[in-house]
Amino acid sequence: MSTPASTPHPHAPLPFVEEILLLALDDSTGALRPMPVMGLDYALAGALLADLALANRIDTDPEKLVVIDRAPTGDPLLDRALGTIASSPAPQSVAHWLGVFASERATLERAALERLVARGILAEQEKKFLWVFGVRRYPTVDNQERVEVRTRLSALILGDDLPDPRDAILISLLTASHLLSRIFDEPRYHARGERIATLARMDLVGREVAAAIDTLARVLRSATPVMGM
């Protein structure tokens, strides 16, 4: 198979929290793409931890997440999360912190949307539904970021190059939240399932996000009465 040349990051990448939310929004409607129950909650929580990890503030192993540097990053969202983790009397697992920050989805989502609007990537639009209810949508103003990240990830999925650590994290989070299969919904990507699974395993936080979402889906399935019995 030919190997597409990997495309470098052309400029400073977006923080993962913003990147994940941007990719979770449908380009044309500005609405969230369908995701599993709590898929976005855990994906944003994982993105927050990944941002802290790449800022060299936390590190992880299969048992625990540890704070390695309490110095503020200058990003209020990250610094609040760092303060929460640092105030824990004992190190906790990645799964524990995913649960904590998944419960803050509304805050993370709101902050990420505001930042994407401030960057000129999205616009905020209020629409009336049934003439009464307000529905907020975020249509795309500047699609360059989405196009660049998709081009890069597409080359990675279809080729044989190794990802850089940042793209490994991104693919892992997108796969865990079932967004990757919606973004790359063509037969040539379906045929690369094994490759995607290999790439998605490379990041520990992403693996834990996948485990949390899958566990929740199993619990919900087992709690749903079977119709027609």
Binding site: A53, N56, D59, T60, D61, P62, I68, D161, L162, P163, D164, P165, A168, T198, R201, M202, D203, L204, V205, R207
Partner: protein, 111 residues
């Protein structure tokens, strides 16, 4: 973590001792990446005295493997203990990195 460098034929052997955590990963990165990015290099990492690695360590190894592939080099990881190897396998990195049980045998086969 400490890194001791030695040479065997065309190979540079970096013997690691301690934890490849955030601090250790930075030390490893400083020792390893200049070797791999200078051109086609042959580097073996001896993990015999490493019992612990974190995500930060994996990120450096992923970067190093990417760099050596770009420059047509060679990178071997030798003497990983069972716990460490298990962690590599969970992350699927045993499929992208060359893990060898015996460094001497691997180098003899490469020469």
């Amino acid at each position: 973590m400490q890194v001791t460098s030695s040479a065997r034929g065309a190979w540079t052997i970096l013997s690691l001792e301690g934890k490849v955590d955030t601090a250790g990963a930075e030390i490893l990165k400083a020792a390893l990446l200049p070797l791999l990015s200078a051109g086609p290099a042959s580097v073996a990492l001896d993990f015999a005295k490493v019992a612990y690695i974190t995500s930060a360590g994996f990120r450096v190894l992923l970067l190093a493997e990417k760099e050596q592939r770009k420059n047509n080099g060679r990178l071997l990881l030798a003497h990983l203990g069972p716990d460490l190897r298990n962690f590599f396998e969970i992350a699927g990195l045993h499929t992208v990195l060359r893990l060898v049980p015996d460094l001497d045998a691997a180098l003899a086969a490469e020469c």
